[in-house]
Each structure stands twice: as C-alpha cells, then as structure tokens.
C-alpha cells in the first residue's frame, strides 16, 4: 500500500489552502484527491465577483480566486489527482479511492484532512406538495448549467430561498435574458448577504417576498407554475394568502449541508447543529490525525474564511505528523441556543483561539458573553447579529486556562 504523510480529500479552496499551508510548514509528502476534472471545486462555477477581499485585498471572481491557490499548489509541485473519488476513509487513515487510471486503490496516510465541501439541500427534503415536472433545480445545479455548460434551464423563474446562491442566480438568469418573478424566503429575514439583495435583486427590480414559501408545484411535464403563500410566525402557510405564479423554472436555495458521508466511515463524531465534525482549535476531529476544514466542517459565508480555516488545519496536521505537542487541556464549549453552535467545539491547547459561531435569529443590541460557570471571562457588545453572518471572537489562554467548560451566550436587551 502506498504511504503518504498527508492525504487531503477535496481540491477546492479548503483543500488547496490546507495543502499549501502544510507544505510551507514542512511536510512535503502530500496528495490532494479531487473528484472533479479541475482543482477549485465549486468556485469554478461561481463566476461572479466578491471573493478574496480579505485574502488578497481585491475583488476576484470564483475562478480567479481558485486560480490564485492553484498557482500556489503548482509552484510547490504539490501532487494532486483529478477525477478521483474517495470511497472510504478508515479510522486507521487508510484512504480508498478510485479513478480511471489506477482503478480502486488504497493509501495509508499519517494524517488526513477532510475538505469535501457541502451540497445543497434538495427539493425532496422540503416535501413540497404537488406534481413532479421538470424545471425544478437547486440554484447550484442551475448555476452549473448556465456558467459551466452554457445552457439555460428556463426563462420564467421563481426562486425559493434567499441564500446567496439563489440571489446570485437571480441576477445571472436576468442578465441572460430570463425573467425572475420573485424570490420567496420562509423566514422574516434573508439568509443572504445584504449586498447581494442590493445588487442582485434591487438592481433588477426583483421582489424579495419575506415570510413566503412555495406550497404547491404545478405542471405535468414541464413546470407550469407555483403557488406561494405567506407564512405565520410558526412558518405555517396562511391559506388565504395563496397566490399562483406562472413560471417554467423553480430554483431552490434553501440551505447547504456539509458532505460528511466519508467522515462517518472514518468514525468521526459529528455535530448535530453544524452537520460537520466536532473539532478542536486545530480543526482536529475526535479521530486523532483526521482534520476537517472549510464547508465540510461548517458552512461559511466567505471563501476567504474557508482558506483561513484550512491553513489552521494544514499547519496542525503537520504538527501532528511531526509529533509536536503543546500543553494539553480539554475544555468543551457549549451554547445557549441563541448562539446555535461554535467551531471549534472544544479547546485542547492553551494558546490563542478564535471561536466562530452563528446565532439562531436576528438580534439587536446584544452582548456576547463567554463564561466558565459563574465567571464571565469575555464579553462584547454588538449592534446586530444575524444567522446569515458568522461571528467570531478570540480568546487568550489566560482567559480560559483554568476553565472546566466555556458557555457561549447571547444576552439580548
């Protein structure tokens, strides 16, 4: 069996960034396994701008951002295999993969970084009533047809869900000559970035219907229309508000789910809220030597943060391979519900730790508070927090050194 120090599963922004960071930290025996025909992952179909402001100080498109990292991989001659699908990862870090050239093959790795990204929630999971015609796509699938294949899925469009991909596709389809009739959002607020509502919807006069959902699908062969309705505060449709919109296309932008099927084969413990692995500050999972980063760990708003997180994983994997250990501790992080989750979920080393988290609802005038029992070790005021925007705070070892557990809470005035 082939022996490789570090196997990285996925050659998207997380995988490439982790590989570069690991290489620069001193491990040269690396292999990136990418299932697609190119490095860059989903960035290749995200041809819009808005990437890289944090990382590169300029606004790049998805393919350009991917190219910046691909160049770094190429410069370092970091090996990668394309069109290669990982089928299994064992807890002992034996990676089984397949491609056309080598068939099914196995690699014994010293460390593995999971960087498989996420997938879109599909129509099936929504259980929308009605018929099953063609013309219903997840926003990302439509994006692939339009931007990579050069085909138009339809001309009269309704979008369910105001996630960023949905908003971006509203603009993209409009620029390609389609009419987008409405974007319906179940929640009373959008899950997308404010700038995307402005430049993708408002610029083109596309209505955003908050607290609305699609309740029925019509059409025998091709989609002919959808019935939408306003929802009450319990998100239940209000029958009197039903409204029929004729359309040939329904795009769904209703959430992203980390793709952790392989993590499960490796015995990695998953967080029920993030649907990603439970990790420590090094992005190490509960299985020693297996790390996770990027959207497979938790869904990020910005690729810049994915790259940053992947660097942590890359460097930590090197430290693990080289047997470098710092002073150990084990402090679990808990949340109060208003804060839905944290990443990492535990702290195992006494060093500066940046904790990322998301909130459950839109809250104004809040205080973010971190406590060890009754002792508040950190607090910070914020004017507004929203589920669509990931927050972060940095804790110093002197703040948490003796803590048994850290609870994260949001105090709302």
């Amino acid at each position: 069996m082939k022996q490789i120090d570090l196997v990285i599963v996925g050659g998207g922004p997380a995988g490439m960034s982790a590989a570069v960071a690991a290489y620069d930290s001193g491990v040269k025996s690396i292999l990136i396994l990418e299932r697609d025909a190119h490095l860059g992952g989903i960035l290749q179909q995200c041809i819009h701008n808005g990437f890289g402001l944090h990382r590169f100080g300029e606004e790049l498109t998805g393919p350009e951002y991917a190219w910046r990292y691909e160049q770094q991989v190429l410069e370092r001659n970091i090996p990668y295999l394309l069109n290669t699908m990982v089928l299994d990862i064992s807890p002992e870090k034996v990676v089984t993969a397949t491609n056309s050239e080598e068939g099914v093959f196995q690699i014994q790795a010293k460390a593995v970084i999971l960087a498989m990204g996420c997938r879109e929630r599909s129509k099936g999971a929504l259980n929308i009533a009605g018929t099953r015609p063609s013309g219903i796509f997840s926003a990302g699938t439509a994006q692939k047809y339009v931007n990579l294949k050069g085909y138009m899925p339809g001309k009269n469009v309704v979008i369910l869900g105001s996630g960023d991909i949905g908003l971006i596709m509203a603009r993209r389809m409009t620029l390609e000559g389609a009419k987008v009739h409405a974007v319906c959002e179940l929640m009373p607020y959008s899950g997308g970035l404010a700038r995307n509502i402005e430049q993708c919807l408002n610029d083109f006069g596309i209505p955003l219907r908050l607290s609305h959902t699609v309740v029925e699908i019509h059409g025998k062969e091709r989609l002919e229309g959808v019935t939408i309705a306003k929802v009450d505060e319990n998100r239940r449709p209000i029958p009197e508000t039903r409204e029929y919109i004729p359309c040939d296309t329904l795009l769904l932008s209703v959430g992203l789910i980390p793709e952790n099927e392989l993590s499960k084969t490796a015995g990695v413990q998953l967080d029920r809220v993030t649907s990603g692995a439970v990790v420590d500050q090094d992005r190490q999972t509960a299985v020693e030597g297996i790390f996770a980063c990027g959207n497979v760990l938790h869904v990020h708003d910005l690729v810049d943060y994915v790259s940053e997180e992947a660097e942590i994983a890359g460097k930590s994997a090197v430290a693990y391979i080289q047997g470098l250990t710092a002073e150990r501790t084990d402090i679990p992080l808990t949340t109060d519900g208003k804060i839905r989750y944290t990443v990492p979920q535990r702290i195992t080393q006494k060093k500066d730790v940046t904790v990322f988290f998301r909130v459950a609802d839109v809250y104004r005038n809040v205080t973010i508070r971190v406590s060890d029992g009754d002792r508040v070790i950190y607090s910070k005021k914020k004017l507004k927090v929203a589920p669509g925007e990931m927050e972060s705070i940095t804790l110093r070892p002197d703040q948490f050194a003796d803590a048994k557990a850290l609870s994260f809470a949001l105090e709302v005035k």
Binding site: S100, V104, S122, G124, A125, T141, M152, R222
Partner: protein, 479 residues
C-alpha cells in the same frame, strides 16, 4: 408484418408476461404510451413481495400472490434484480387487532403461506426493537420480501427484448380494429401495429383498451398512494416490512427497508375519479408521517430524500381480472396490490390461458432467461472492479457521488435493452440521481452522456419525455 402477440402496457405485469412469452417461438411486441417502461404504478409502489395472507381464500389474488412470492427469488436471480427476503410483520395494538392478526394467520395458512407465526409483544420487540412499544402482538411472515419494482420491470422487458421482442414506446393505443385473423392497433400518433393476439396489461387504462374490442364488463379506477422515502441513514430502523393490522380503511401505512437500503413509508389510500393526478398533498404526506410514527419509533423525517404519489389500478370486481372476453384477446386488469408480488405467477397463468384457448406455443430453444445484471460492478470485489476499470476506464469515473455510480455503469445502462432515453430512465436503471442530493451534482453530466449516446443536442434531453425538457436552449441566444 403481423405480430403473433402485442402486449399493451410495459409495466411489471406486461413485462413479466412478455418475458414469459419470449421463451416461445413468437413474434412479440410490447406497446406503451410513455417515453420509457415502468412509468406507471410499477415505478411508484411499496416495493413489497407480500407473503400472501391478505387476499381472500380462493381468490385469484390469493392464488397468484402465493405462487408469485414463490417464484420471485428465482425470477430476480435470473434477471439480476435486487431482491431481499426480509420478512414481514403485521402489528396489532388492541384486542380487536389481535383477532385480526389471528384471522390473517388462519387465512394465510389456508392460502398456503409457509412459516407464519403469531408473536406476543416480547417476541415482537426482540425481533424489531423500534416497533412502537404500544404494539402488543404481530403476525410474522418469514416469506415476506422486498424487491425493486421498476428494476424488475426494466429487466423483464429487457430480457424479452434480448429474446426477440420489440418495444414500441410513445405508442398510445387509440383504436383497435378487428380484422379476420389479426387486430390492427392504432396509436394516437398514427402508427399502426398488426397482431393476432392482444394482451391487455394497460394498468389504469385496461378498461379503455378492453372497451376498444367491445368488452365493457369491468372498469378500472385510480387509487392514490402517497409515500415518503428516507435516506439510507434510516434504512436500518427496521429489518422486516412493518404493516399495521388492516381496517376498513385498508392496509394502512407500512414502514419498510428497501432493497437499496432506504426506508419507505406509506402509502395513503384515496380513490379518485380521474387517472392522472400524481400530485402529492400536504394532508397526504402528513398522514403518512403521523401513522408511521404511531407504528415505529425513531423515524426521522428530516432525513426525507423524496416524496411521491403512485396510482394503483383498482378493478371493479374486487379481484384480479384475468380472462379472455373474446378470442385472441386477454385482459390482465385490475392488478392492484398484491400485483407486484403476483407478477411472475400472472405471466405463468396467462400462458396457461393462451394454451387453453387453443393457441399453439412452441418453446424457443434459443431462449435465454438470464439478463446481464445491472449492478454487477457495484457489487463486485475490489479486484473485480479493477479488472473492469482496466478494460474500460469509464468505470473509474464516478458520476453520481451520493450513490457512487460510475460513467461506465451509466453508459452500459444507456446501451442495454430497454434503452433509457431520459434522465428518469437513467435514474431507475442506475440509481444515479437517486441519492441525497437528488441529481444536483450529476444530472448535468448525465444529460451530456445521454445527448452523446443518442446523438441529439444537449438541450433536447428530457426528464421523462414529452415536454419535460431540462434546458430551453443555449445561453447567449435566448430571447
């Protein structure tokens, strides 16, 4: 050319009959109005091989169910179709239910079902820990099984075609003209087929087909059944197929693993006046979830991967309608549950009818009952897989990530009888697009493979024929 026999309807019944007939020296054709085979009730049902204790003693349903259940394992083996003998349970909660369970036991014994046993609560929960703690008894039928119904249909039609039968799709029979020794069957699009015999296996429309030759002795109506299918994560919740004791309202909601490892829950049971309404309803889906939760603990509907509605063809006589109302014309109608279970036996029975009617049937020595299994690659060992990949690198390229389906498997399916011509056809044959992302990642690639194999433009590939197009055209040119 005059066919010896035209089978109208390429569902599981028509398919199994055609396959059985293809073992004889006959010119056969199979007609279906849809764009592919297995698009009606055969693609949307509970996927159960019933043991045979439901149907009334002495009925055709009882006879053919028990026989069909016996034949199913061998049939599936020959056709390379997934089949699993997982057993079934009818669970009861009340004293009244207990009486029903015992009544079913006696009926099953009378029907010749083997191995039936009545279990008490303790035995039941030892066998199925996730069955509701409130259940007090159950009928255990070890011969109850599960099968993939559309795969069985595809494989039987394919095997019939490999043995010489012809398949004519998009052939909506509009008129049947009776000539002296052959029927002329006219399609809505003007095509015609001449055949000496007609086997009417037209499902929901079998009454309309029969009426075309003057037989109005029965009618068929549609019974809607809504289902919710869950992710493979939930597939191990129960081992057996779990039924509730039947009531006046019917057999109720079942919970069962599928041969592909998912969990199926459903169906509702609502009779409707028309025959095309396959829309799911909020009430129907809620009903399925509610009753499922009563019967089995721990079903997680946030793991739903799809929901759908099937239309069962219910005949007006209460039993299967298999007869010859006139010479050279066979009705195989009203094949509602346990139709899938009975299908292999129905085929056998129809051959018997034809022979009785005086038709000479001569065995074709070149008949091969074996069809290349559709899932040989995925079930192969590592070494076997590598052998195949070495010969054909397309088997090393994964197209559907969720179900791990390779380009090689998809191409093989596209090239094998009966050839799929749309996305749903590829889905039913390969499972590509059937996983948790529901084709989100792979459908653009499958469209490409279909376009390339059929040598048609990318944008002309459909989901299931007709107007179910995927793309309206190229970007840059759409006005």
């Amino acid at each position: 050319m005059i066919y010896d026999i035209a089978v109208v309807g390429a569902g599981v019944v028509g398919g199994m009959i055609a396959r059985e007939l293809s073992a004889y020296k006959l010119n056969l054709c199979i007609l279906d109005k849809a764009h592919d085979v297995a698009t009606g009730a055969s693609s949307a049902n509970s996927a159960i091989v019933h043991a045979g204790f439901d149907a009334k003693e002495g009925s055709l349903k009882a006879l053919l169910n028990v026989r069909g259940s016996e034949l199913m394992a061998k049939t599936c083996l020959e056709l390379g179709v997934k089949y699993k003998n997982n057993g079934s349970l009818v669970i009861g909660f009340t004293d009244e239910d207990r009486e029903t369970v015992e009544q079913l036991y006696r009926r099953g014994v009378a029907n010749g079902v083997k191995g039936l046993r009545v279990l008490d609560a303790e035995e039941l929960h030892a066998l199925e820990p996730n069955v509701s703690k409130n259940a007090t008894c159950a009928l255990h039928a070890p011969t109850g099984s599960i099968v993939c119904p559309y795969e069985l249909t595809i494989a039987s039609v394919g095997n019939a075609m490999d043995n010489g039968a012809e398949l004519l799709l998009d052939f909506a029979v509009a008129e049947i003209e009776d000539g002296k020794d052959a029927f002329t069957v006219k399609a809505a699009d003007g095509r015609t087929v001449k055949a000496r015999y007609i086997i009417n296996a037209a499902g929901l429309y079998a009454d309309a087909i029969a009426a075309m030759v003057g037989d109005t002795s029965f009618t068929v109506h549609a019974r809607r059944g809504e289902y919710v299918l869950l992710d493979k994560e939930s597939g191990n919740l129960v081992k057996n197929t779990i039924f509730r004791t039947p009531s006046k309202m019917g057999k109720g909601i079942l919970v069962s693993p599928t041969v592909d490892g998912n969990l199926i829950t459903g169906p509702t049971s609502v009779d409707i006046g028309e025959k095309t309404n396959k829309a799911t309803t909020p009430e129907g889906l809620a009903h399925v979830m509610r009753e499922t939760r009563e019967n089995v603990d721990g079903v997680m509907y946030n793991q739903t991967i799809t929901s759908f509605c099937g239309l069962r063809a219910v005949g007006s006589t209460g039993d299967f309608i298999i007869n010859m109302p006139r010479e050279r014309f066979v009705n195989v109608a009203g094949i509602e549950s346990p139709g899938l279970s009975s299908a292999p036996a129905i085929a056998e029975y129809v051959i018997g009818l034809l022979k009785e009617s005086g038709m000479t049937l001569e065995k074709d020595p070149s008949f091969d009952p074996i069809r290349a299994p559709m899932h040989a690659f995925r079930e192969g060992s590592l070494e076997e897989k590598n052998e195949i990949i070495k010969k054909d690198p397309a088997y090393g390229r994964i197209i559907c990530r969720c179900e791990t389906v390779t380009e090689g498997e998809i191409l093989a399916a596209i090239r094998q009888n009966p050839k799929p011509r749309d996305l749903d056809g590829v889905k039913r044959r390969t499972r590509a697009q059937m996983g948790r992302c529901q084709g989100g990642f792979c459908s653009p690639y499958i469209v490409e493979l279909l376009a390339q194999e059929m040598q048609v433009p990318y944008e002309s590939v459909t989901k299931f024929g007709g107007d179910s197009y995927i793309n309206v055209g190229k970007t840059k040119g759409v006005d």
